[in-house]
């Protein structure tokens, strides 16, 4: 009954007029921006991050989470209507969703995506409420040794599951860790990598990295691309799915939810892997698998459910362990840290209104998403036709002014330009930015925990392998790396990520 009373506390926070307003604003802005073609959730969150910092921590997290669900759903809308998924995880939805749209069934496809996301969102929020505290209680036993091994595991997971070359992804993690070092060392008070710039004594700003890496680099990539995308525009009518449709999507939605919720709770597994697995499962179970790719409604429902379920359960490791599973979660974690809150198992006891308020706002956010999307679908459909040449100057405006406004410092804007430049070069060389941002967010904690662990063990590394929890994390990490190096498994992974990709 503990969960129930905590949830009651959460709802008292989430249903306050202020939280409702920020949740609504977040969902609305997220959908509005996320639905624009070529603008995925990462860009959306990165560009809106600075605006949320002036709010109190609870409101800011609720609004960010709202932006996240909204952008996620907006991305699916774009995927279905114009076959331009804003992010990898809605790429799976685009396969059958776009076919449905071409056959004049855009309305039912959009409604299916909304309903599947809603069901998955509600069920998986319940799982966050139940399992979050359990994980948190377990994590209270962790010492510095366990945390170090856990973070190492999270970082290696993120690199392994990033699309592309493992070594390059690991290198990106290391670069992120090094960027996290910049600033004054907590223990010795010595400035590191500050190159004599007073602005760097507090470290490189989190939004500088996030905006540069995800918004600026992305814009340059899109602007520099030569080919033009032919947009097939659809008119949305007959929104409501038929009874046969509803029957057809019930089971796939539930299966997708289960799969997504499970995958989402594991560190490093991205929503795109969850949605891709759900799609493959439906294809296997279907009586006539050849319908998939031709506009099968199950092919929209299952991945959408999995996608959204994973998006919610990602919050479990992020909030209870402080280990973000994906780049989006790294942005959430970074936002919390900037508000002065160190995520971890203590958050639940020291700031129950934050954790439970967020969990309750997940229910609220999913309801708002459904209420907002079903009637506004026509507007979203029109928005998908906004040309990119209007969009990127707007994103640039948010990026530049947002970064400037945090410290009123032009240096932050210059640094952001530098990070954008570096991010673009990395993207051209097929080095993925998600592992970098995870390394950047976890870097300071990784160093601190390593220092503490070594201090306690008197400089010996044996503790890492003799303490059972730490040993388990390291063993899993080692097995994972070995598995990656074995060629047969590697080939299978390439197949899986070729269509799935990363967030």
């Amino acid at each position: 009954m503990d969960v129930l009373s905590s949830l009651a506390l959460g709802f008292s926070v989430a249903l306050s007029l202020k939280s409702l307003a920020y949740c609504f604003l977040g969902v609305l802005l997220g959908t509005l921006i996320g639905v624009l073609p070529g603008v995925g959730p990462l860009v959306t969150i990165a560009m809106l991050l600075p605006i949320t910092f002036s709010l109190d921590p609870v409101s800011s997290l609720i609004m960010l989470a709202g932006i996240f669900y909204g952008a996620q759903y907006g991305g699916s809308t774009t995927a279905i209507l114009v076959n331009m998924p804003g992010e990898a995880s809605s790429a799976v939805t685009a396969i059958d969703g776009y076919q449905m749209a071409r056959q004049g069934r855009a309305g039912p496809a959009l409604a299916t995506a909304a309903i599947a996301s809603f069901v998955a969102g509600i069920l998986s929020s319940l799982m966050v409420a139940i399992f979050g505290p359990l994980v948190g209680k377990w994590a209270l036993e962790f010492g510095a040794t366990e945390y170090f091994s856990l973070m190492l595991m999270g970082l290696v997971f993120s690199a392994v599951l990033a699309h592309g070359d493992l070594i390059k992804s690991l290198a990106m993690v290391v670069i992120g860790l090094m960027l996290g070092i910049v600033g004054t060392d907590v223990t010795s008070g010595m400035p590191r990598f500050s190159f004599g710039l007073p602005e760097l004594l507090d470290g490189v700003g989190f939004t500088v990295i996030a905006v540069g890496l995800f918004a600026i680099a992305e814009i340059v990539l899109n602007v520099a691309r030569v080919e033009k995308v032919a947009v097939f525009s659809t008119d949305v009518k007959n929104l409501m799915p038929t009874w046969a449709d509803i029957k057809a999507i019930t089971r796939p939605t539930l299966r997708g939810t289960a799969l997504g919720a499970f995958f989402g709770a594991l560190p490093g597994i991205t929503a795109s892997i969850a949605s891709f697995s759900a799609y493959m499962l439906e294809k296997k179970l279907a009586r006539d698998p050849s319908r998939f790719g031709q506009g099968a409604i199950e092919g929209v429902a299952a991945p959408e459910a999995a996608n959204n379920a994973a998006a919610q359960t990602h919050f479990i490791p992020t909030l209870t362990l402080g280990i973000p599973a994906t780049a989006v979660m790294a942005l959430m974690l970074g936002a919390l840290t900037m508000q002065g809150i160190q995520p971890g198992p203590e958050v639940m006891t020291s700031k129950p209104e934050l954790f439970w308020g967020l969990v309750a706002s997940m229910f609220v956010g999913n309801v708002l998403l459904l209420v907002l999307n079903l009637p506004l679908v026509g507007l979203w459909a029109r928005l998908t036709r906004v040309p990119y040449r209007w969009l990127f100057p707007s994103i640039m405006m948010f990026a530049a002014l947002g970064n400037y406004s945090l410290n009123n410092s032009a240096m932050d804007v210059y640094l952001c330009a530098g990070v954008g430049l570096l991010g673009y070069v990395f993207a051209k060389l097929e080095c993925h930015p998600a592992p970098l941002i995870l390394g950047f967010v976890l870097g300071p904690m990784l160093e601190e925990n390593l220092r503490r662990a070594l201090l306690m063990s008197d400089g010996s590394f044996t503790d890492f392998v003799t303490r059972p929890i730490s040993a388990t994390f390291l063993l899993v990490t080692a097995l994972l790396i070995i598995a990656m190096v074995l060629p047969s498994i590697r080939r299978r992974r390439e197949q899986a990520t070729a269509d799935g990709g990363t967030d």
Binding site: M178, R225, R389, M396
Partner: protein
């Protein structure tokens, strides 16, 4: 046919890692290393620098073997124009105030795109300036002067 070194994707990535790793390692040499019992501020960055150089070497060798070319043209002009847009914005914010900075940011950004339609850009500039004022100055209450030819404090 293998691409030249300057167009070899993994070779370039490896070189970039090596340069970054070396820089990190060399700069960290001036920080005390400490010991395993008591890690100094130089411990972590030096280890990371070496690891990065190691990953860089592996990647570069892989690149020489596989010889995958860089995907698509480099697009330097768009990159430089968009970088310039940000740098100009930062400088103008400090020296001339908000509105000139915004106008230059939007104009240079639009110039970086493939199509530049004067009428559209003019409308876009006005709309975005109003939006920026509404959100950042009136909404968040940031104390920026719209024009400040002498610089803002």
């Amino acid at each position: 046919m293998k691409p030249g070194l300057l167009n070899n994707r993994d070779f370039l990535a490896g070189m970039l890692f090596i340069v970054l790793g070396c820089t990190g390692f060399v700069v960290a040499l001036s920080y005390p290393f400490g010991s395993l019992q008591e890690m100094g501020p130089g411990f972590f960055p030096r280890v990371l620098g070496l690891v990065l150089v190691g990953f860089g070497l592996i990647t570069a060798v892989k690149g020489l073997r596989a010889g995958m070319p860089v995907n698509g043209p480099w697009g330097w002009t768009s990159l430089l124009k968009l970088t310039l847009a940000l740098v100009a914005f930062g400088w103008l914010m400090e020296h001339t105030g908000l509105l000139p900075a915004l106008v230059s940011l939007i104009l240079i950004s639009a110039w970086a795109g493939k199509e530049f339609r004067l009428g559209e850009v003019a409308v876009l500039t006005v709309v975005l300036c109003l939006l920026a004022l509404a959100i950042f100055v009136w909404g968040l209450g940031l104390p920026y002067s719209l024009f400040a030819l002498g610089g803002q404090g």
